[in-house]
Structure formats: C-alpha cells, structure tokens
C-alpha cells in the first residue's frame, strides 16, 4: 500500500503575538483520507494553528503548503476557495434563513441575476441526501437541532472547499446518538478522500474516529503519531506532561461510606416535565444521573432547585419538610446548582470574577448585609486558590476567562455559601482536560467533606468514577437505580438503551 498523498502541510510555523509566542516551530501534515486529531489543553495553540491553516492569521515564520505548493492565504475566503473548509463549535450559519439558502449562501445558482429557488432546493436535497439527512430544506435552519445544523455546516464546507475539512469541537453540544451520526458522516467524507482535522476534548472520540493525532502543548509540537501506537494514558501524558488519575476510573466512592439520609424527595415531580421521583440523598455521597439529552435529567435538576415548581410530592431535609418553590428557597436551604448552560444561566459576563464568586453568598445574606470589599477579596481569593481558578486578576470580567475557569468560578460561588447539597449539571462539558480533572477532584473532595451531590453527566466513565449510586433517567422518568458492582458503563448503557429495545419489539 502506498503512502497516501499529503494534502496540507505546515512547516516550522511560528506565530508571535506581542511578546507571546503562541506557536513555536510547529509542523503538521495532513493526508488525503485521514482523520487527524489535533489535541492540547486550552491555550496549547490549537486554534492559532487552525487559524493559520485556514487563513484567519498569517504565520510569523514558516510556511504552509497545499498539495506541495507554498500558499499564503490573506483571509479565510481564499483558503475556502483553495479547498480548506472549517466548521466551528458554534455553528456560523443564519438560523433565520432556510436550510437550502444556508447551504449555498453566496453561491446561489442564478439566472438573469435572480436566485433560482427551485434549483437550490433540488440541489440542497441532493447534497443532504448524501449525508443521510432528510429534512425540509425550505424550513428555517434554526428550527432544527444543533446536530442537523452542524451537518448542514459540514455539507456547506465540503461543497465550497472539498479538500480539507476542519472540525473545531463539533461534538461539544451533541448527545451520544448525534455524535454517532456525525462520525458516520466523517467516515464517509474520509472515504471520499478528504483530509479532516478533528479538534475535541473527548478522548474516547479521538480514539473512535481518528487515524493519527498531533499534540500541542504551550505552543510547541509534542508529537504526531498513529493512534494505533498509543494508549489514552499516553495521549493525556503528552497533553499535560503528567499523569492523570481520572483516566483509571475506579469507583472510589463506596456506597457504605456515605452518611445518614439528609434529603428525601418523595414523589417529587411535575406533569409534562418529570414523572414523580422518589430519591434519598445521604451525606457524603455522589448520586450520578445518567441519561440521554431530553431524558428529563436537566428537568429533574431544575425541579430540585426550585427553578421549576414541583406539582407533586414533598421534600424533607433532616426530617423536616421544606418548601422548594424558587431558587431563593433552595439557596436558603443550602442548595447550590451549576447549570448546564454556563453562559445563559451561570455567569454574569460583565461582572468581575470576584463578584461572580460572591454573588450567591450575597444573595443568601440578603440586601442589607453587604459583604465589604475586604470580605469579598478574602472569599474570592480563598475559592480561586482552592479551585485553581486562573485569572490575571479578580477584577477582570468573567467573560474573558476560559470555559473551564468559568465553570470553576460557578462551582466556587456555591462552595462559598457552605452548601449541604450541590447539583451539578454537566459540570465538565466543553472544558479543557486540566479544568476537567480539577472539577472531578473537587467533586470527590466535597463528597469526603460530607456534602450530598447530584451530578448529571453524559460522560459515563466520569459518572462511574465518582458516583456512590447512579440513577438512570429515560423518557422523563427515573427508570433505574444502580448500586455497587452495577455501576459500570456497560450496565448504565443497558439501562438507558432498554427503551430502544422495547421500541424495536
């Protein structure tokens, strides 16, 4: 078998921003028909490298070769025309235009200067059919799920470019089925001979789909190798330069170790949202919640925090019945909640890191017991250190921090109220490996400190690693509670998947 042709190559690329060398002598080569994973922690230089390959930045030194010829793209449009298409995590399309228009925007087939709608629709249907996507191409793009939008974005990039496809965290907001579907498409494009760069935080996905990988750290090239030759531990070691315990998922949280019942939800539910759930939370335990997107796991969390008001059942805390009709009441009872959508429901983008850290405590104290500046500085300093929050200073707006650090701030905000019960909804989604490990460590530490935690996650390995018990949600119902030896990805998947077997019968 001959070595496949190299399509796109970067040689000795250096990129300097002011004093900072974002990329230092990095080389990468992409072959036709391969999926090449680009790995590294946040700030490793992945996006800088991608931006140089796609023409958004120009390299300070070094060169980019396309099919052996040196190229210099002034902007992404030139790169696109030369055959390099990019799909970003947050889909860069127009949600209020039709699917077909989005596919051909800027390249609509015209006759006498008029857009030929019929031709567009027919072409769009034909193009999307090759991706196994059968949607109404005349409908607004925004009316479809993120997964569909992502496929449209990929189809557009492939249509326009067709040699190299860059996928920047395409799976961050997809659920498991959608990821599988996306992978089918990636395999298909690979078979068509495209070179695909795949950026993701999920290692299992790297191993599932990629042929080779390149690891960057602090702007330097650590290495490129075939994935057949390395183990996940090797990859993480390359990315971090150190070993990470989280990759050896042993459930350290033996159920016997948890304390007395602290909180009981009895027949707690809301019609149309979550069927009545009965669940005890003990001191010093982590209850993992598994289930697909839309299974009712987030709805359960919102109900438990009073964001939505339960219409049935009751809650008792340490033997006394409590009311949970609003988050205010939940916070007074010592609950904390890290929501799934960090940007929309979590951070106060324009407020400082310090204010974001103290806001829940201040809300709990009320309007007139203001924390003075010294107290604020002390609290912010304490939790920033405890959670290793990396910010240049605590007066900068939180929106300037990376996703992982923002998540740590929200977690710190709740730790500051000295909570009894913490609900974490997808606490590690879309954050880098380092922050990920820090959050998992914190979850384990809080459990040891005697808190009750309810953690929702799509990462089964993660749930297995820290849960004392696992609750499985399906169709807005709690369908299983797993203990001890049953806490394994295999059994969780079976519990989640039972529905599909039923449907198939």
């Amino acid at each position: 078998m001959t070595e496949p042709a190299t399509v796109l190559q970067a040689r000795g690329v250096v990129k300097v921003f002011g004093q900072h060398r974002a990329l230092d002598d990095v080389s990468i080569d992409l072959r036709a028909g391969e999926v090449h994973a680009l790995l590294g922690e946040n700030g490793a230089g992945k996006s800088t490298l991608i931006k140089i390959l796609t023409g958004a930045y120009q390299a300070t030194e070094g060169e980019v070769l396309l099919e052996g010829q040196p190229v210099r793209f002034a902007d992404p449009l030139q790169a696109q025309a030369a055959g390099i298409g990019t799909v970003y995590q947050e889909v860069n399309l127009l949600p209020n235009r039709s699917v077909a228009e989005n596919l051909f925007l800027g390249h609509q087939p015209t006759r006498f200067g008029f857009v030929q709608k019929k031709v567009i629709y027919a072409k769009a249907r034909a193009v999307l059919a090759t991706y196994g996507l059968d949607v109404d191409v005349r409908a607004e793009l925004g009316s479809y799920s993120v997964a569909v939008q992502q496929i449209v974005a990929i189809a557009r990039a492939v249509e326009l470019s067709g040699k190299v496809l860059v996928l920047d965290e395409p799976t961050a907001s997809l659920d498991r089925n959608e990821v599988d579907r996306l992978f089918d498409i990636i395999r298909q494009l690979k078979a068509r001979g495209l070179a695909i760069i795949f950026i993701t935080h999920f290692l299992d996905q790297v191993f599932a789909i990629s042929d080779r990988m390149t690891v960057l750290r602090n702007g330097k090239l650590i290495g490129t190798s075939s994935l057949k030759d390395v183990s996940p531990t090797d990859v993480v070691r390359m990315m971090l330069g150190k070993d990470l315990e989280i990759l050896h998922p042993v459930s350290t949280a033996a159920e016997g170790a948890s304390g007395p019942v602290m909180l009981s939800f009895d027949g707690f539910g809301k019609p149309g949202k979550v069927a009545p759930v009965t669940l005890d939370i003990h001191r010093g335990e982590v209850v993992g919640v598994a289930g697909l997107l839309g299974s009712g796991r987030t709805e359960l969390a919102r109900l438990m925090f009073g964001v939505d008001t339960a219409e049935s059942g009751k809650v008792t805390m340490n033997g006394k019945e409590i009311s949970l009709r609003s988050p205010v009441q939940a916070v007074q009872a010592g609950f904390g909640f890290c929501p799934e959508d960090r940007k929309a429901d979590g951070i106060f983008g324009d407020l400082s890191v310090r204010e974001n850290l103290i806001i829940a405590l201040q809300a709990k104290l009320g309007w007139f017991k203001a924390l003075n500046r010294d107290e604020q500085l002390e609290i912010a300093g304490r939790y920033a250190e405890a959670l290793d929050i990396r910010a240049a200073n605590h007066d900068m707006p939180i929106k300037l921090l990376s996703g992982g650090n923002q998540q740590k701030v929200i977690l710190g905000r709740w730790l500051a109220i000295d909570p009894n019960f913490l609900i974490l909804d997808e606490p590690t989604r879309g954050i880098d490996v380092g922050a990920h490990a820090e959050i998992v460590r914190t979850i384990n530490r809080l459990r040891e400190d005697g808190l009750g935690l309810l953690v929702i996650s799509s990462e089964l390995d993660e749930i297995v690693a820290y849960s004392s018990r696992v609750v499985v949600m399906r169709d807005r119902q709690m369908v299983a509670e797993l203990h001890g030896q049953d806490i394994s990805p295999k059994i969780i998947v079976q519990a989640i998947a039972a529905q599909h077997q039923e449907a198939a019968e």
Binding site: V331, A344, D345, G346, D350, L351, W367, A370
Partner: protein, 333 residues
C-alpha cells in the same frame, strides 16, 4: 489611589461639562457670577442646578431601572399625576403634608404597576411603561378635571421655589436624594444585585437572587423619584398642568443616564454620573438661553454634544485610545 481619583475626574462626562461651561462663559462672560441676595444664592450656575434638578431626580430613578436592562417611559406622566394630585388636594382643603404624602403614594403606585408588568408578567419594559406614559396624562387630567389647577399653599410652593442654606430647594432635594440613593445602593448589596439582574437575569435567578422583587423595587423607586420631580415642577409654577408638566422629560432622563455612562444593555451604573449627565444637559439649555441665541439652536447643539459624548464612550474610541500606546511599544522594539 491618587491616580484613581484623577482618572475618575477626567471622565468623558466631566470633560464634556467643563467644555460646555467654558463655551457658556465665552458666550456670556457673566456666567460664573454668583451673588448673595435675600438670603440665597443667585447666578447662572445656580440656575443650571435649579433647572436641572427635576431631570436629575428622574435620572436617579431611571439609572436603577436602566441598570436592570429596563427603561421607564412613564416618568413624565407620573410627574403630571403627582403634581395634579398634590395641587388638587391642597385646593380641596387638605393639609399640605397629606397632599405630598398622597402624591408620593401615587408615584409609588405607578411604579408598582410598571414593576408588576415587567417583573411578574414579563412584558418588555419599553411597552410596559408606555401604558402609563400614555394613560398617565389622562389620569392627571381626570384628577385636575381638565383645567390647570393653581394653588397658593406655601409648603408646596416652598418645594418648588424655596431655599435652604442659600441653595434652591430643588437642588437640595436632588442632592440629598442622589447621596442617599448612592449610599443605599453602594453600602448595601442592592447595587451589586441590581447589576447582576441587569447583566443576566436568568443567572441571577439561578444564583438565588430574588430578581423579581428587585425589579419591582427599582420601578417603584423610579415612580417615587418621578413623583418628587412632579411636585417640584408644580411648586415652581404654582399650579398643576396635566398636559405639559414633565412633557418629554423621560427622554431627557434617559439621555442623562446614557451620558452618565450607564449602558442601556444593563449592568454597571453610577447614580452620581447620571446626575452629572442631567447637569450637562441643563448647562447646555441655560447656556443657549443666556447667550442670546434663539432657543431653536438648543436642540441642534444638544444633539451635537450628545454625539460627541457617545463617541467618546463608544468601544471604538476605547480601542483607539488603547491601541495607540500599544503601537508605540511595538515600534520601539
């Protein structure tokens, strides 16, 4: 610390005020003359403060509302309602303090109405407050039964035209209110919580902040401020004019807040800066009057100055100012 105070003093707002005052002085050399007569201060500068007081008071309430990402269009109409209430009551023989209290209650009630629409019914503030902006003048006319109610009650007149320690009463009221409101929001957690609601109402709810109660409170406070401004205007002309009292002043109040640097997108706010904004607006108005230009110029000049201030505040100018020193270090390398 010293540089912080200094950088605060040379904000776009203070520069604009200095420029306006300078132009006034050039056009009318007697602008800064202040004299002591009949136990109180007189002069153009005092006049600026006195005439600017109603808008400054409106701006105090408006700042809180805008900080929550809202807006209150009804303040002008609430002024008319408060003035009409106070005037009609004293004319009907009620004691002045009762009339003042009821007028303030009327303002609070209007604010509560706005707050309920915005916080509980989740109606967009611009629409919710439009209701009283339109209906409020009708209500005021109903109270005055369609006529301009004049009065001779000394207490009400004192609110509009009296003086305290040599300063006109409206200035004293506005300054007191500005200081008290600033202390209230900065010494308690209210300021931070209001900003949090303005930046992200959903996150505020998730963080356990009673966002709805806060929203109600700021609209009620805004109505209260409008009622005070309404009584000052009524006391000044010794009568309540349901049609014209406070007409279009909601726009001046919003403008004062924006000039003061509070974003219409909510979040960071400064009550004192908004008051400064109101003074800038009035300094322009007074300047054009005393310099003998026809008042038609007023609106044009005003918009010119406003554009200038807004450009200075825009992100574009911030990047221009920030980029300049950076480019220098790059060149020296």
């Amino acid at each position: 610390m010293k540089t912080r105070v200094l950088s605060r003093l040379i904000s776009p707002q203070t520069m604009a005020l200095a420029a306006v005052l300078l132009v006034n002085w050039i056009l009318f050399p007697g602008f800064f003359d202040i004299e002591w007569k009949d136990g109180r201060l007189f002069g153009s500068l005092i006049d600026v403060l006195n005439r600017g007081a109603p808008v400054a008071i409106l701006a105090i309430g408006m700042t809180a509302v805008i900080a929550t990402k809202g807006v209150d269009l009804s303040v002008g109409a609430v002024m008319a309602i408060a003035g009409a209430t106070a005037a009609t009551m004293v004319e009907a023989g009620w004691p002045a303090h009762t009339a003042v209290a009821v007028a303030l209650l009327a303002g609070l009630a209007c604010g509560l109405w706005n707050g309920v629409l915005v916080a509980l019914l989740d109606i967009q503030p611009i629409i919710a407050t439009l209701v009283i902006m339109v209906a409020g003048r009708g209500i005021a006319q109903l109270i005055t039964e369609g006529s301009i109610v004049t009065f001779s009650d000394p207490t009400l007149i004192f609110i509009g035209t009296g003086s305290f320690l040599g300063l006109p009463m409206p200035v004293v009221i506005a300054a007191t209110l500005a200081v008290l409101a600033t202390l209230l929001v900065r010494r308690t957690a209210l300021g931070l919580l209001v900003e949090a609601v303005g930046v992200n109402r959903s996150a505020a709810r998730y963080a356990g902040i009673s966002a709805n109660v806060l929203l109600l409170a700021v609209y009620v406070f805004c109505g209260f401020c409008a009622a005070i401004a309404g009584m000052i205007v009524a006391g000044d002309i010794r009568g309540a004019d349901a049609n014209n009292a406070g007409l279009w002043l909601e726009l001046d109040a919003i403008l004062a807040v924006v000039i003061g640097g509070t974003s219409l997108l909510g979040g960071r706010f400064s009550i004192l800066m908004s008051v400064l904004g109101a003074v800038i607006i009035q300094a322009m108005n007074t300047g054009i009057l005393v310099s003998g230009f026809p008042p038609e110029f007023n609106l044009v000049v005003k918009s010119g100055v406003i554009i200038l201030i807004l450009v200075l505040q825009s992100p574009l100018s911030a990047t221009l100012f920030l980029r300049a020193p950076k480019a220098k270090t790059g060149a020296s390398k």
